[in-house]
Symmetry: D2
Subunit: 247 residues, 4 copies
């Protein structure tokens, strides 16, 4: 039996890609595709089992309250969740069979890169992150790269590794990158590129590189579908797709 | 207290690198460096706790029997272990407090590449392996690349993934690589290169690459030292360094 | 003064990207955007100096005859030019001030990769090509990769280099790639990827890699604009964008 | 007829690699291998046609004066040449048939990377350099990377390109690398790595990467042999191997 999936924000560029992804998957059925003017009651009427929400910080809380109260699982890519909002969602979940996944990043290749980087970190003396994005990006380095570096730094600390070896005495300012918790992070800005991240580890006689390339704006879809398929098996609120990957 | 480490085959090129690695590690102490003419009794006399054996198929079994009977843990990179030899070692271990690690590959970056490849495989429609070696190598693809591809293929089967998408109708012979259990493997032979392996995964709008580069012949040393440090905590015989990595 | 540019096939996906490229360039002015129903006379009436033709083999010859006779330069990405058609165009050019550029590939990064590969080839013992495309591609390897390998092979012959070193004795079928004139070419097919080519050269202690990544279907636009800007300076018919690059 | 080659500094690590390279080349003959105690007259007596000098700033000028006066061509990797020394060498060459090549970098892959970077620069909106070295290196970025960036910057200026696109508003210090003449340069320091440089260019929908990897300390040998073979055809003093490459 296919899982019945409702998409909220179905008219947006992201929502449209989710709709196409659901329609292309044999084990999923699109039961509802709603946008801001539509009545959420259509989710209940159509027997929707899981909703995907890529809407706005303004509307997402009302959407979640409605769905959780009606026993509909939620997979959420909408931004703007602080600890207060997460507590509210957690509370709603306590009185419901419905589960919720909220994730800042659904690109499966990026989520795996972060996970593998944390696993690998304790085996290497050196670790740096190089990220590549289009030149219209406002922040450098990317949030994902910073988060990756923090994960590496934490794994190094837990393994008792000290500072990375670096004999640099003479340096042009900025050459050695940004220092994120002892891990150097370099940001390249390049017309034509989309979003790419490489984590590099080195130890005696060898290096290990884990690289993620996003080629277009639909790269979040496979991760959303993983969320849709597994949300029923993860009780309550989960934050971060990595908790669903079983690695 | 430093762990007392004996090296067998200490005069060989590989053994010399192990000796240097042990001497450079603060938590290890070189208690004995023996080669083929030396008496193994020196291991007992020196209070050796762990030996590293990079000798030959001819001498390794005698070395292991002696060490295991004397309660000395063994980390073994010598080749030529078939199931009969492994059974013999397992039997010796039953009557001893000594543990044994036998591994075909101690390059930590290569071991992690294989492990991450198996973890990632089920999340991607496509997976291929490209390996790069110096042109004096006799086999193509490398044993490591074949082993990696088999691990990917098994993970795909367990996840219920079918054949990889490939619309190729018109092809020059060999262009699509060797077919290892449904995973394409490509072997590049290049003067100047040493040993390099890249595993590439693709799904909607993105790819993930895990790449391992060995720059010189001492790249096995960090993996051997991991083995030395942890062999006391893994009862009996273990085959493969990945079982020590806790990932 | 901006160059007045007319686009033929302006409604097609490719033509639309050209129209946008012309409009975004300060030194170019879109003087006409025609599709199959439109009268070519509009080119003359608008004072068009250069046309860009991404139409069909059926209509391109009529377009070229009209433009050349009216002294309008032509930049052509339409396919299907055999030696007979090229001769015809060359003949039309003899009686006209108009010049023509016909190119099979306008992706500037791909054209440069081929050019640099030919320049580098004679300095290296080893050379191989690895290309990566989406899995819907029908041919393997790509025409560009074959063309690149042929250019490398020719440069090696001219430099008196012999066969590449390769000690492979034991091989899985296909592992060493397709043999294009003595140069191994490997084709990877990967969901999510677009079009990517890497040329790798090796000699003692080092390697050189030249890699081209196309991230989307508009990657031909910069090359077309180079053609538009320079076609007035290259007399008669030119085949291949590389002749315009002055390298 | 093989070219008769003398090596000065033949006992040094670099000199030894040159000796081996000469001996392995069929078109070259090792006529003399001298070190600091040896008499230069042996070069004349052995009929040496070309010398290779990897000695010290202290001894190189005496070596060159002797060789040039005796009509022996010189290929020089020794450091420490300022404009005064170069003028002196140029003057010696005026009264001799002997030619001299002095080059700061003989790694052919690095020299080609710089050359291709200069050629490609004018076709791309974006260009950055990422270099990777072992962590014992004292300077960051490497001299080669700075030199590469300067070449790119000059080519951009000559082509009338303006500043690179970069919308970064919010940045961690150092994330965007060192600014070398408007080109961002990033330096990675990684245990296990040797010396690697990547130049990346981007324009609409595509990127071009030129990457050089040095795997061991003998990577200068092929470039030295090119110098030896061609020095007789380049009159007077030449500074930089690129002038011999005919590209």
């Amino acid at each position: 039996m296919a899982i019945k999936v409702g998409v909220l924000g179905a008219q947006g560029r992201v929502g449209q890609a989710v709709v196409q992804g659901v329609e292309a998957a044999e084990d999923l059925e699109l039961s509802a595709a709603l946008d801001r003017e539509d009545d959420l009651q259509a989710l209940v009427d159509s027997g929707t089992e899981v909703i995907v929400d890529f809407t706005t910080p303004n509307s997402v809380m009302d959407n979640l309250e409605f769905c959780i109260r009606n026993g509909i699982h939620c997979v959420v890519g909408t931004t703007g969740f602080d600890s207060e909002r997460l507590d509210q969602v957690r509370q709603w979940c306590q009185d419901s069979e419905a589960n919720v996944l909220i994730a800042p990043n659904f690109a499966i290749s990026a989520v795996l890169t972060m996970s593998f980087a944390r696993q690998a970190a304790r085996f290497f003396e050196s670790a740096e992150v190089v990220e590549y994005h289009h030149p219209n990006k406002l922040d450098a380095p990317s949030g994902t790269a910073i988060h990756t570096a923090e994960g590496i730094a934490q794994a190094r600390r837990e393994a008792g590794l000290g500072a990375q070896p670096d004999a640099t005495e003479q340096s042009l300012e900025g050459a050695r990158g940004a220092n994120v918790d002892g891990v150097a992070v370099h940001a390249v800005r390049m017309t034509g590129m989309v979003a790419h991240e490489e984590v590099i580890f080195g130890t005696q006689g060898q290096s290990l590189s884990i690289r993620q390339d996003s080629y277009d704006r639909t790269s979040f879809v496979p991760g959303v579908l993983i969320g849709v398929r597994q949300v029923a098996q993860h009780d309550g609120l989960t934050v971060g797709l990595d908790h669903y990957l079983d690695i």
